[in-house]
Amino acid sequence: MLAFLIKRSANAIFVMLSVSFIAFMIFRFVGDPVELMLNEQATQEQRDELRNRLGLDEPFIVQFGTFVSNAAQGDFGISFRNQQDVLGMIAERFPATFELVIVATLISLVAGIPMGVITAIRRQTWYAEAMQFTSIIGVSLPSFVVGIGLILIFSVWLGWMPAFGRGETVDIGWWSTGLLTHSGRMSIILPALSLSLFQITLVMRLVRAEMLEVLRSDFIKFARARGIPARAIHFRHALRNCLMPVVTMTAMQIGGLIAFALVTETVFQWPGMGLLFIQAVTFVDVPIMAAYLCIVALIFVLLNTLVDITYAMIDPRLRGAEK
């Protein structure tokens, strides 16, 4: 177990260093932040003073070292645009994105797994075929089209849910949650749905493929020979053997969803990290872009580790690997 942890950590550190290098390169080579931050009339002294304050006059490797050590302590510098602490700005936006992604993930699992099971065990029924067909539409519609469609139907025509924003939020420590207020819950439905639609399809198709595979296996045949009823065969014996890839995919996709949330957040004006990033791109606010990259990478790395741990929980074969 210890060896496993050390290996994982070494891996994680290597990945994070690579990503921060890329982030830093962007930092370094996208435009001249000094030009962007100061107006036309600024004097040379003002420029030099700012350049010095931002550490831009140091040699490359020193700058990278400073960047990494600062980043490791959560210091990503200050925003070029409004001179605020970058980490603070991201931390403020993080809960919105996180809640959106988690709700979208839950929706995709709650809808996708049963749909996958049904399409696998009830092949050739009209409803299984219908789900299969709808799922093709699900993968091929771009997320912003789905978002706009949902707004049109549920906000504009039916007026059931708000078209944008996060509703009222409640602060719990530094975390601001929208899940505790009615308007917050109503607001998250449409963006989460639009973000999860693609996901539902992925989960459904994965579960279906895995189920079909597992149902052909010997232990299912033997379970039937033991007299285990169909329901227990499908949901106890087969489904559980399909969960491993679903867990992997879900975890990997959470990272993907955070990235995808860019689009959804823009469509629904959802005040999350994605929206912050998009705004940062428009203003070439490099520290925010760099910080965003590093944080998303960190989330990916953490999720990966979590996947391995969950694996061991589901599959006894991986549990005692050190024996």
């Binding site: 296996s217 010997d218 232990f219 033997f222 020979a225 033991r226 007299g227 285990i228 009823p229 074969r317």
Partner: protein, 342 residues
């Protein structure tokens, strides 16, 4: 039930058992696979019987239809395969007409199964104890604790050491031989009258094969379970079975007591099979080898399916189909024994 039918009186050793019904009785079974290019008949007019406490060996080359016969009995034929004719009775109860739901209650309870590969027969994600308790509770009214005790008892009975500990372990922690013992324990969980064992030793090491066949034999005699032992290994049959059915291309070609079939084979195909057993090579006339291979399902010759490979084949063999008739101590499907010309 105290009714004594003549068949029970014939089976002298089962005289102590009041139950008149054979563990398994298959009559005129036909199994078909409808395909796009016509219906393929995988099993053609097979009739066999397994008495309680008896091991019936079923042998034949790969593709002879041994497994399909077993699966048909268990009601586990995979679509589009279907029973197209005949009847199957398990302990006197007709099972080939049951619905899937009714079959679920018969499987495991009245007939159990052991399949070839113990490595893949157990669900890898559940402990051995969980799978045993699940099966036991499904077929009995035992409480969880009582079912656990029974599981322990079963593991002990199939010869697994330290059963208390083993109960908590997962399939991957067992060796192949031990896993096959677990599979046997699972098949025995509800004391079925019949066990279909399809190549139970083929995937195991030779040294372990003997242990498993000995175990099967003991269980069969102790519990008076009827076992249909499917294999293509005549050696296993010789050591384990009481009677033997030889199958070729979906039909029975010979049937008889094990020593008669081995030492006094009547059908040309069985004679060829016997020569393939190394331990029997001391016999003088066993150097005959069967040339060629069994015809595929979609290209079976007319007449006797064995005629292209048979050294004795005559014109009638290519035209008519031989039925099982008395042949020496056995029954064989071959015109040589019908008295007429081949």
């Amino acid at each position: 039930m105290m009714l004594h039918s003549p068949t029970v009186l014939e089976a002298a050793e089962s005289a102590a058992d009041p139950s008149p019904a054979p563990a398994l009785e298959v009559s005129n079974l036909t199994v078909e696979f409808p395909t796009r290019r016509g219906v393929l008949t995988a099993i053609d007019d097979v009739s066999l019987r397994v008495e309680p406490g008896e091991i019936l060996g079923v042998v034949g080359e790969s593709g002879a239809g041994k497994s399909i016969t077993g699966l048909a009995v268990l009601g586990l034929l995979e679509a589009p395969g279907r029973i197209a004719g005949g009847e199957i009775h398990v302990s006197g109860r007709r099972v080939d007409t049951l619905t899937e739901e009714e079959l679920t209650k018969v499987r495991g309870r009245e007939m159990g199964a052991i399949f070839q590969d113990p490595l893949t027969a157990l669900n890898p994600l559940f402990s051995v104890g969980a799978q045993l308790v699940e099966t036991i509770r499904l077929h009995t009214d035992l409480s969880r604790e009582a079912a656990r005790d029974r599981a322990l008892h079963l593991l002990r009975e199939v010869g697994i050491p330290a059963p208390e500990e083993r109960l908590r372990q997962y399939p991957h922690q067992f060796s192949g031989g031990m896993r096959q013992r677990v599979v046997i324990a699972l098949a025995l969980a509800a004391e079925p009258e019949l066990i279909i064992a399809d190549e139970p030793t083929t995937a195991l090491d030779v040294s372990i094969q003997a242990q498993i066949t000995t175990l099967l034999r003991r269980l069969c005699k102790d519990h008076r379970t009827g076992i249909m032992l499917v294999t293509h290994d005549m050696g296993v049959i010789a050591e384990t079975a009481d009677r033997v059915v030889v199958m070729y291309a979906g039909r029975m070609v010979e049937m008889g007591r094990v020593e008669d079939v081995i030492h006094n084979a009547q059908h040309p195909y069985t004679k060829g099979l016997m020569s393939a057993i190394p331990s029997l090579h001391d016999r003088v006339d066993t150097l005959t080898q069967i040339d060629g291979s069994m015809p595929r399902l979609n290209s079976r010759p007319s007449g006797c399916a064995f005629n292209p490979r048979c050294p004795m084949a005559g014109p009638r063999c290519r035209r008519d189909r031989p039925n099982l008739v008395d042949a020496g101590p056995n029954r064989a499907a071959c015109f040589l024994h019908e008295g007429g010309t081949q």
